[in-house]
């Protein structure tokens, strides 16, 4: 016996409808078991997330000063300082000369101060007579 395709499919639709009507009905004990499983997992709470690895001392320092951008800034400042020290521009030399000169004068003044003059020292030692 042969049937056209549409007719076969119409019968299939009836079978599908029957399958939908007779969906699985789980026994109460089975549902209770599955519910107990759900409650057990719920009671465990979320799985603990693994702690991130502790950074090494150098990395902690780096993070402390602000990360790689800060380190780049620090390196730039260092190079600029070296450059200014090795090849100072004219205005820096002028300022340096002034500072040095004033410092020299102050140092000279400092050296001229006698913190322990001879007379009081003699009195202290008791041979001032």
């Amino acid at each position: 016996m042969t049937h056209d395709q549409d007719h076969d499919f119409a019968e299939l639709d009836g079978l599908f409808a029957a399958a939908r009507r007779t969906g699985a009905t789980l026994p109460e004990a089975r549902l209770e078991h599955l519910t107990a499983q759900a409650l057990a997992v719920q009671a465990e709470g979320p799985a603990p997330r693994s702690a991130p690895p502790r950074p090494r001392p150098l990395m902690r320092f780096l993070l402390g000063i602000g990360g790689w951008p800060a380190l780049a800034g620090l390196a730039t400042a260092g190079v600029a300082g070296l450059w200014i020290g090795a090849m100072p521009p004219a205005f820096v030399e002028t300022i340096a000369a002034q500072v040095t000169a004033s410092t020299d004068a102050a140092e000279d003044d400092l050296y001229l101060v006698d913190p322990l003059p001879g007379y009081p020292l003699a009195l202290e030692l008791g041979d001032g007579s």
Partner: protein, 195 residues
């Protein structure tokens, strides 16, 4: 029942409540989803024992990912159909040629039609399940999702991770395969008188 008021919520909302520790949400979701998963798994594997194990495992996975579930990203049932299919595929590969458990199709619990109609339904569904087991795995999955579980083609495409056109092709070929497999059972299924 104390969780009656939660039954109006959708699966997404219930899963969030579950993740927040609401035991009533666990009960409502289990009762709503377990029959869907077990019915689908039974038809995919043709074996009730496998289907029960798959149901337990699929729900266990759902409970475990609940805290990370992102609402609105995917339907809970779509996710479950996919997990169920993966678990069923593993089982089928391990147990090729296993027996079909006809008792897997449970009787309807309530609002049951007359006894003879129930028997006829049961015979027809058993024949359908036997015919489904003759189909290639992907055709069987597509036909079950489309014609028994009632998913749309785009939803099936998402579950099976294929295009909508591929879904249409699989379901069409699957129906032709079912029609061929059931050809010899027309009379025993009572279609001579019914159609």
């Amino acid at each position: 029942m104390p969780f009656d008021d939660l039954t109006a919520l959708d699966d997404d909302a219930l899963l969030v409540l579950y993740a927040n520790g609401d035991p009533a949400a666990a009960r409502v979701l289990t009762r709503r989803l377990a029959p869907i998963v077990q019915s689908h798994a039974t038809r995919l594997t043709g074996n009730l024992s496998d289907a029960e194990d798959i149901t337990q495992e699929a729900l266990l996975r759902l409970w475990r990912i609940a805290p990370e579930w992102r609402r609105g990203e995917a339907k809970v049932t779509t996710w479950l159909y996919r997990v169920t299919a993966n678990l069923a595929t593993d089982r089928i590969r391990r147990r090729r040629g296993g027996s079909v458990a006809l008792d897997a199709i449970a009787d309807p619990a309530d609002d049951r039609p007359a006894a003879d109609a129930v028997l006829q339904d049961k015979a027809r569904v058993a024949a359908l399940d036997r015919a489904l087991q003759t189909l290639p795995d992907r055709q069987r999955q597509a036909v079950i999702l489309r014609h028994i579980d009632g998913l749309t083609n785009p939803e099936i495409a998402e579950v099976m991770d294929i295009g909508v056109e591929a879904v249409e092709s699989l379901t069409a070929r699957g129906k032709r395969g079912l029609a061929r497999a059931l050809e010899g059972e027309r009379n025993t299924l009572g279609y001579r008188d019914d159609t």
